[in-house]
């Protein structure tokens, strides 16, 4: 599948061009990169079409000189690493696997399988990203669309609580604002762009309308909009309370109702603030309400490369999107109970496997303190705060740069990766398969653990 041409340049360098490669830095998962690869140097020297984040992603992933495996800080072989990891997992009474947003679906599938085999828990970075949006979805559903549909049709584009210019730089230019589409022949000229946020960001200049809202008041404003869309009364104190005037709200409501095809993109300004899943629920409900008048969709602007794939894989294998516990031989779901922040903060997990993420730097202090007390297995392409405290640390190849596989864009569209150059490190899928096979052997005959 990989279309690649290998040519020798003037310096007789071994150069390869990879066309239509995919960048997995953010949830945009742009698949139109043209990579120039220096095969001698094992690095990408040029990434055409990549944004500033994408360029950093491609350029910074070089082959570091570091051991494949460290056990308790000492260099070890891959087999020894797999052996120790398998032992740690099998011995644990409440093991958890977390991360997976920067892994392929193929690796994610194995990670879930391991937790199914040992009756552990599986959670992904979704739980601290758009997990609350997933919970909101379970409550109210969602009207949504693929990004191409938005490119082709959306004449009203609203961003709420997000800053795509810095977090998803090509969201505007490739998908939702500037591109021309089937019924949007003039690109941005045919669309109205609204931005709602608590501060001005580099995204603000792009908006036709900027709505500055008091911090922590998103739910109140969304709730007021829902009422106005339905023709219901709202409190006269709305401006005092939220910083948004009645005139601005009325104008927004009229624009939304009269749009031909509207979209509400929302970011972690909703999911990570007080109200969490109810904030997401409010915006999803607003979009659904608007379908009484016109066509309207909503879409969380999801973060890391394949976090959406992780949601999909965990859902199809277990029925639930994240925070799944297999202690009893079948999947159970309860955010707050089986999610990683909670099981660390409450001191419950007695072992953890962290794949392609860094909770030791992102999690609340109390959770990190517990992580330092239990055996951690880490798989990552770079050293992180988490790999620093790991009992077993695997250095793995970078997905999309060194390995193929499947990733899902933020709108659930699956894309195959085109690797640029080989890595001396194994892929996380290979390491996980090794651990799975060893765990299976260790549990052979342990009927109590194998069957529910």
């Amino acid at each position: 599948m990989v279309e690649a041409t290998q040519t020798k340049s003037k310096e007789s360098k071994n150069i390869k061009i990879v066309k239509d490669a995919t960048c997995t830095f953010c949830g945009c998962v742009c698949d139109d990169m043209e990579l120039t690869v220096d095969l001698d140097e094992h690095r990408i020297t040029k990434a055409k079409k990549a944004c500033v984040l994408g360029r950093a992603w491609f350029y910074e992933h070089t082959i570091d000189d570091r051991p494949v495996v460290l056990i308790d800080g000492k260099e070890a072989t891959l087999e020894e690493g797999i052996e120790t990891a398998a032992q740690v997992l099998v011995d644990a009474k409440f093991p958890i696997t977390y991360g997976l947003s920067d892994s392929t679906c193929e690796a994610q599938r194995v990670a879930v399988e391991i937790m199914d085999i040992i009756n552990g828990s599986i959670d992904t970075t979704t739980s601290v990203c758009h997990g609350p949006s997933g919970m909101a979805f379970q409550g109210v559903g969602e009207s949504t669309a693929t990004l191409g549909e938005i490119k082709n049709r959306a004449d009203l584009v609203i961003y709420w609580g997000g800053n795509p210019a810095e977090s998803h730089p090509r969201h505007f230019t490739k998908y939702a604002v500037t591109p021309k589409g089937m019924y949007i022949p003039n690109g941005k000229k045919d669309r109205t762009v609204v931005l709602v946020d608590v501060r001005r960001t580099p995204s603000t200049p792009l908006a036709d309308i900027f709505v500055l809202i008091k911090p922590g008041k998103d739910f109140e404003v969304l709730w007021a909009l829902r009422a106005l869309v339905k023709g219901k009364k709202i409190s006269e104190n709305i401006e005092k309370d939220t910083g948004v005037s009645r005139e601005v709200l009325d104008d927004l409501v009229s624009r939304m109702k009269n749009a031909q095809y509207g979209v509400l993109f929302f970011g972690m300004g909703l999911t990570m603030t007080r109200g969490r899943h109810f904030n997401s629920g409010a915006i999803l409900s607003l979009a659904s309400d608007l379908n009484e008048f016109t066509h309207f969709v909503a879409k969380p602007v999801r973060g890391h490369g394949n976090v959406t794939g992780a949601d999909n894989v965990v859902s199809w294998q277990t029925g639930y999107p994240f925070g799944v516990n297999f202690n009893r031989g079948f999947p159970r779901f309860n955010p707050g109970e089986f999610t990683t922040t909670d099981v660390f903060s409450r001191g419950e997990a007695d072992a953890a496997m962290i794949i392609a993420s860094d909770p030791a730097s992102n999690f609340p202090k109390k959770a990190i303190e517990h992580m330092k007390k239990i055996p951690i297995i880490s798989l990552d392409a770079k050293d992180t705060c988490t790999s620093k405290i790991a009992k077993v640390r695997f250095a793995v190849a970078t997905y999309g740069i060194n390995t193929g596989g499947t990733v899902y864009r933020m709108d659930d569209v699956p894309i195959s990766l085109r690797p640029a150059f080989d890595s001396p490190f194994p892929s996380d899928q290979e390491v996980l398969e090794g651990i799975r096979n060893r765990v299976k052997e260790l549990l052979k005959g342990d009927k109590a653990r194998l069957a529910a």
């Binding site: 239509d20 409550g139 009207s143 549909e149 095809y261 199809w316 294998q317 029925g319 194998l450 529910a452």
Partner: protein, 549 residues
Amino acid sequence: MSSELKIVNGRVYDPKNNIDGKVQDVYVRDGKIVESVSSSATKIDAHGMVVMPGAVDIHCHIAGPKVNLARKLQPEDHRLDVHPKTAVTRSGTGGVVPSTFATGYRYATMGYTTAMEAAVPPITARHVLEELDDTPVIDKGFYVLLGNNAFLYKLLKEGRKKEFQEAVAWWIDSVHGYALKLVNPGSDELWKGRKNANITDVNEKIDHYDITPMHVIESFIEAADELGLPHPPHIHCNNLGHSGNISTTLDTMKAAEGRRVHMAHIQFHSFGGEINKNAVSGVKPIIDFINANENITTDVGQVMFGKATAMTADAPLAWMLRNVKFNKWVNADTECESGCGIIPFSYQESVYTHALQWAMGLELFLMSKDPWRVLLSTDHPNGGSFMSYPKLIKLLMDSAYRKEAIEHVNQKAINKTVLRELTREYTLSEIAIITRAGPARALGLENKGHLGRGADADITIYTEEEDKEQMFNAPRYVIKDGVLVIKDHEFATDHKGKILHCKPGYNADIADEIEPFFEDYYSVKFSNYAVSEDYLHHHEVIPTHPKDS
């Protein structure tokens, strides 16, 4: 090393080979049915048991983005129906939209060894194939949603029939699909482009394209015929669920003009009465037409009382249902290809429409003159879960049981049907036809649905029981590809089934026509769209028989 199996002393029902309950032995070697085996073959004594080919589900929704959304949507449903792992099988969750593993295992525990996912937007084919790879035991394939495809509409508008057929073939081949699927043709453009409007007539012009749904239907029937696909276009007609929709359904069937066509979940398209008024059964003219026209196959899409999930590419339909109860609703637009709607739903005996639909489904079964062409389905999970098939079989085989069931449902609805007058009871052989031989024939799967030499050794063995629901609920043995997967009602081993797909031939130049359209209107690169064969794992290409060869 070859693996051999012989099943002895069982009463065999193999309608394709005209075997109707005869006690005879069945031999298996290396996953296929053979005429004899060596003396060292593993023996299964099926004395007092019924031996049938593995069942084939011709229309269900078990994998892909809409299924996964419906799964994620209903944690409350999974929590009450867990699927624990065993020493050989993976765990999962059940409910009306089970996890992939639970789906595969549960199909197998009911004697189903093949199931076809009935609606896949091609851009999501990778996702479907990944899920199907995690759906154990059964063989499976999927139908590609092309009936609202923007590029194909453009070709139809331009009157380029040849290119249209090439493009259709390209699409099936590129995503490894099995058949063509049309859902409410023409509706997507109105739904997405005209503020949630819907097509109401097969002869209505589709916005922007200067073509009609009828034009679309005819073109696909012709294309499938020319390409010689093993299964004809699988059509979900316009106006699903609307009173008086039989005229649309009849128009659609007539469009085939004798060529093969498959009408999906016909029950939902058999409403009499006036448009937008209270519906009545319109089964009679529909089933009469089907009985009289051998080119038509259909699956019933029976409604079963209890939990269901409306899950459809027919977005306007889901919107209509949403506005009944205002519960959680999912809509998902797929660029240039499809719409989608999902609503958790429950069919209740006391509700007029629900009881009417239940009765209409049974009317269709009981008034069908050719079981080979009127096949069993619940349009899982739209009319109910595939787990309710055994109950449906009992309703068909046991008229006393059916009579009692009729008394428990809305009588006003029953009175709008002739169900009370229908005393027919399906025989075991007829059940074998509507669940095995018939769907296999309609799908063009020559190695499925029978136990003749060369067939896939997909076999189910039931303990014969008076209560047919109990009997079909739990076969004693299930053999898949010659492997004894279920032994004495329990999983003896895990097993991976195959992907069934087609590779119709076409002129590769058509790709050059499609590519510019992609660059303009899709959000993925053309070169990243076609699905690599890596996603197929175990698979089998089902041959096509193109007309011009």
